[in-house]
């Protein structure tokens, strides 16, 4: 990216109406803001996001690491700013949407969101969004517990139990959680040779790995494995009964 997208002329044009902030983690002791990545929701390098003038992360990169992806991310940031203004002006619908958006971005916990919404009547679309959001936040909590508890057997079991509960209810976590969630379901399906469950995972991963040779190869291997489960188990060959030639045995006995 540093040798390509960030050097392009279109990136220079893109940068003109934005504040371009570069944070370099150096591990130099005492350096101000040297360890900001985690505070801003980053889990690894490189990390790109859009921030407000208050320092809130108002959009994260979900597309490609090029000017097209950056433009999409900054478009989401502009949507955030517009919604914030609308909510501040007293628009009731915008207030709810803004609360939901802040929860999506991790600014509000599920508890805070519930408190903020109170008894507000939600539209069908908002109800649907809230349900999906709750699933995501509950899953995030289980994942965070897993990390905090050093992947203890209890926290791993809790995450698996939750994943299976969500799977059976047909409410699946979205966004960046998808890979972890579906990988957990796949592992369970493989352990239990549950072909239907495993095929559900395959259908989710298929578009994700499309065009990626290694990913496609991996998925083909999974499919072959699943096909192996559904084959009828081979019946053990029965030992043929020994044919006894009664005449010869009589002959032998007479010899």
């Amino acid at each position: 990216m540093e040798g390509g997208a960030l050097l392009s002329d279109e990136f220079k044009t893109f940068a003109q109406d934005k504040v371009m902030y570069l944070n370099i983690t150096t591990k130099i002791e005492g350096r101000k803001h040297d360890n900001m990545l985690g505070d801003k929701g980053g889990r690894g390098f490189p990390y790109l996001c859009a921030m407000s003038s208050k320092g809130d992360v108002i959009a994260k990169l979900s597309g490609s690491r090029d000017t097209a992806g950056f433009t999409k991310m900054m478009g989401s940031a502009d949507d955030y700013v517009a919604l914030e203004k609308k909510a501040a002006s007293g628009d009731a619908v915008a207030k709810i949407d803004f609360a939901l958006l802040r929860a999506v971005l991790g600014m509000l916990s599920l508890e805070q969101l519930t408190a903020e919404l109170g008894d507000t009547q939600l539209s069908p679309a908002q109800t649907k969004k809230l349900a999906a959001l709750k699933t995501d936040l509950i899953f995030d909590e289980a994942v965070n517990r897993l990390g905090a508890e050093g992947r203890s057997p209890e926290s791993r079991k809790a995450l698996l139990d939750l994943s299976l509960k969500l799977y059976n209810a047909g409410t699946h976590p979205t966004g960046s959680r998808e890979r972890r969630y579906w990988s957990g379901i796949l592992n369970y399906a493989k352990e239990n040779q549950n072909a239907q469950m495993a095929m559900d995972v395959v259908r989710v991963f298929e578009p994700m790995v499309a065009g990626n040779a290694r990913g496609e190869e991996w998925l083909a291997g999974i499919k072959a494995e699943i096909a192996g489960w559904s084959e009828e188990p081979e019946e053990p060959e029965e030992e043929p009964e020994e044919e006894v030639d009664e005449d010869s045995s009589i002959e032998e006995s007479c010899e």
Binding site: E2, G3, L6, L7, F11, K12, A15, D17, K18, V19, M20, Y21, L22, N23, I24, T25, T26, K27, I28, E29, K32, H33, M36, L37, K40, G42, F45, P46, Y47, L48, C49, A50, M51, S52, S53, K54, G55, I58, F70, M74, A77, D78, V81
Partner: protein
């Protein structure tokens, strides 16, 4: 006792030197990062507080890029 003190002093000097050398090395890596063409391609704001202030004053959103200098 005296010999032990000398050894401790020598060890402290070595560790101190190693610490300084390591810090310098990190500084150099930061300089090398900032000298890369992408960093010079446009006027990046590297001061967080200054970036927030500019965003507020100019009514702009911030495009933030997080990278590191201590590893490739």
């Amino acid at each position: 006792m005296n010999r032990l003190s000398n050894k401790a002093l020598a060890l402290a000097l070595v560790l101190g030197w190693a610490g300084t050398a390591s810090a310098q090395s990190m500084e150099e890596k930061l300089e090398a990062k900032l000298a890369k063409p992408f960093a010079k391609n446009l006027a990046w704001e590297t001061d967080y507080d200054a970036a927030l202030l500019r965003a507020k004053e100019e009514g702009k959103t911030i495009f933030a890029y997080f990278t590191r200098s201590y590893a490739p």
